[in-house]
Symmetry: C2
Subunit: 386 residues, 2 copies
């Protein structure tokens, strides 16, 4: 896939050398003090850190570093970053990493400008913040599509809640597939499955009648599945990686949500699993999706049947809707194994004595879900996944 | 399809009552003097004019009217509008209509702020204008997707050139499918075919290898074809109209151009046909596409074959690539007849003695086209369509 620029409302710079081509110009119009935010330091191994530091230096910026943003970024880390941003009079945040870094900075950009505690602010129904430190994202691990929207999933360790908060859109996002070539295969698969999950969560929302949004969604799912398989064959294929990276963005840029109330019940359940176990997001989804979706039956049979034929290539001849729905569930489970993703919580090192009742109780129930799940229902799903 | 808001970078307000819901708020942040631009006055028959006038009045705006914007809007009309905007110190342009009104206002918004003659300015390679009067669009005739991009097709009668110019993006676009229910069926089909043509022109660009962009494109084409057929069955179905209206926007919002150099050779040929005959755009495309595409063979056989199976539902079993490509061309021609669109220039009232050589000579050759056409090649295409 060739390089392109595209606005949505985030200005996307996609392709090899995208940072070298676009970042110097973007830095011209921002303030002096830049917060360079990243995670555990993988960017120091793959050369991205050095490249960006020198671009920032050539632009004459004063750089403050904020590192160590963890997977499942915590509320405490957000507060730490916001304090640092205030202390150094930060004019611009450059977030370098995957969804965790990119989400964390969305909320830092809001908290730094907000006197109130942003968690209370948003959950006390005061609504979303409106004042932000402007930001740019450099994506080095793909899957979440976090660079394309203004939602952020933050773990409040004290409250044992991993919940969405609303921050700013990035001014720009730099997507260079080459930056992701050093991701370990399991992380690539976890991220790509997260993208597929986003599509399914959007697809399963209401209305569930066929429409353009769903057709675009089916196309995106087919593309992700095809390119996950291609990645397993040729892990270092840059075009395959480009397709997966862009599909991850498309899955979360709003296009597949148009005209729909989305589901995202599996995400909400996984978030609480993460809040209690700090597990990997994509892998948690891989374990939970089949078990949860089986409980969507029989209500979701028409959508599952459509996924079977339109996305998973199941031949409908001589099959009932119920049989097609089952075929989808089986194809999804088989694919998760094919991708080398876990199929049980135990494979993820999650102890059997985890407080599943507390996870179920604290799971947000979504309006777009085809079923209203009571606690026991969700406890059963979780226990089935042990 | 349900109402939604969506930014791209145009803020789209889609759905029934979208104007009543969104326009008052949008008017709050704009200046005092509004140019209300529209076409031949159909909006006075279907009530849209009265609705918008009262919203503008309630907002306390000073309104200057600019009416009579014609299909194939002329350069002279642009200059007239720009002079009017200067004269009245217009702060905001509200364009109400279809692609012609929406395109015309994009260039008025630029010319009103530009001392140079915008035609010379852009074609003398001074690049695109950067200063604009902000605008909003209310779409009452769909198909072009003009509200979603900053390109505008203007006819320079003196120079006998119908060419793209580059103006501003709209701040917002109001898409209420109900506003389009009074469109005559032939205009609905012409607009919808223009949307399908945009998809095909994007699809036929380079690279031509399968990718996510092309899969999204195929999904959009299937949706347009299905909903054109549904419109023929139930012309007043609001959901069908909504799907067509949104598909027209998707086809021109940039999503299907990502990572590709698009073709648009058929559009360029039709533009010059329009420059010389003032013919209807969608109908001109309907006549020209089959004849031009037949000349894309054999180079385009792989793409045509893919369109046959992925978009037109042709069973590939036992067919060669060449046979599938032919099947696509036949399906496209049959569909144009099915939609009640013309299949010959004579049906459009275009005289036989039209100066086809001049049309061919003045047709822009596009970089994304699979073939480089010399004048005679294009003359043959046009004559074949007589």
């Amino acid at each position: 896939m060739e390089a392109f620029t595209y606005k949505y409302p985030v200005q996307v710079y996609f392709g090899e050398q995208a940072a070298a081509r676009s970042l110097p110009k973007e830095l011209e119009r921002i303030g002096q003090n830049v917060l360079l935010a990243y995670g555990g330091g993988s960017i120091k191994k793959n050369g991205v850190y050095d490249e960006l530091r020198s671009i920032l230096q050539n632009a004459g910026k004063t750089v403050t570093e904020f590192s160590g943003i963890m997977p499942n970024p915590t509320y405490a880390k957000v507060q730490q970053g916001a304090a640092l941003a205030r202390e150094h009079g930060i004019d611009f945040i450059l977030a370098v990493g995957g969804g965790s870094v990119i989400d964390c900075c969305k909320i830092i950009s809001a908290q730094a400008k907000l006197d109130a505690d942003i968690w209370d602010f948003e959950y006390a129904q005061h609504g979303s913040p409106t004042d932000f430190i402007p930001m740019g994202a450099v994506v080095t691990a793909f899957g979440t599509g976090a660079e394309m929207n203004n939602g952020a999933v933050i773990t409040n360790e004290e409250k044992k809640q991993k919940s969405p908060l609303w921050g700013a859109f990035y001014d720009f996002a730099i997507l260079d597939p080459v930056y992701t070539m050093t991701m370990p295969m399991l992380q690539v698969m976890s991220g790509a499955f997260d993208s597929l999950s986003h599509c399914m969560e959007e697809y399963m929302g209401t209305p569930r009648t066929g429409n353009l949004t769903d057709e675009l969604n089916e196309a995106t799912q087919r593309s992700i599945i095809r390119n996950i398989r291609a990645t397993l064959q040729t892990p270092q294929d840059k075009n395959v990686r480009s397709e997966l990276m862009w599909a991850a963005a498309v899955a979360e840029n709003g296009m597949l949500k148009i005209g729909k109330t989305t589901d995202f019940q599996c995400h909400m359940l996984e978030h609480q699993l993460g809040a209690y176990t700090d597990c990997n997001h994509g892998q948690g989804l891989a374990v939970l999706h089949p078990a949860l979706y089986r409980r969507y039956l029989p209500e979701a049979a028409p959508q599952f049947a459509r996924l079977a034929t339109e996305v998973w290539g199941v031949d409908p001849n001589g099959k009932t809707e119920k049989e097609l729905a089952e075929a989808f569930l089986n194809a999804l489970s088989a694919f998760i194994r094919e991708a080398g993703l876990p199929t049980a919580l135990s494979e993820m090192g999650i102890p059997e004595d985890t407080d599943y009742a507390a996870i179920a109780r604290s799971t947000i129930r979504t309006g777009g879900c085809i079923k209203k799940f009571d606690d026991q229902y969700l406890i059963d799903v979780l226990k089935e996944c042990i």
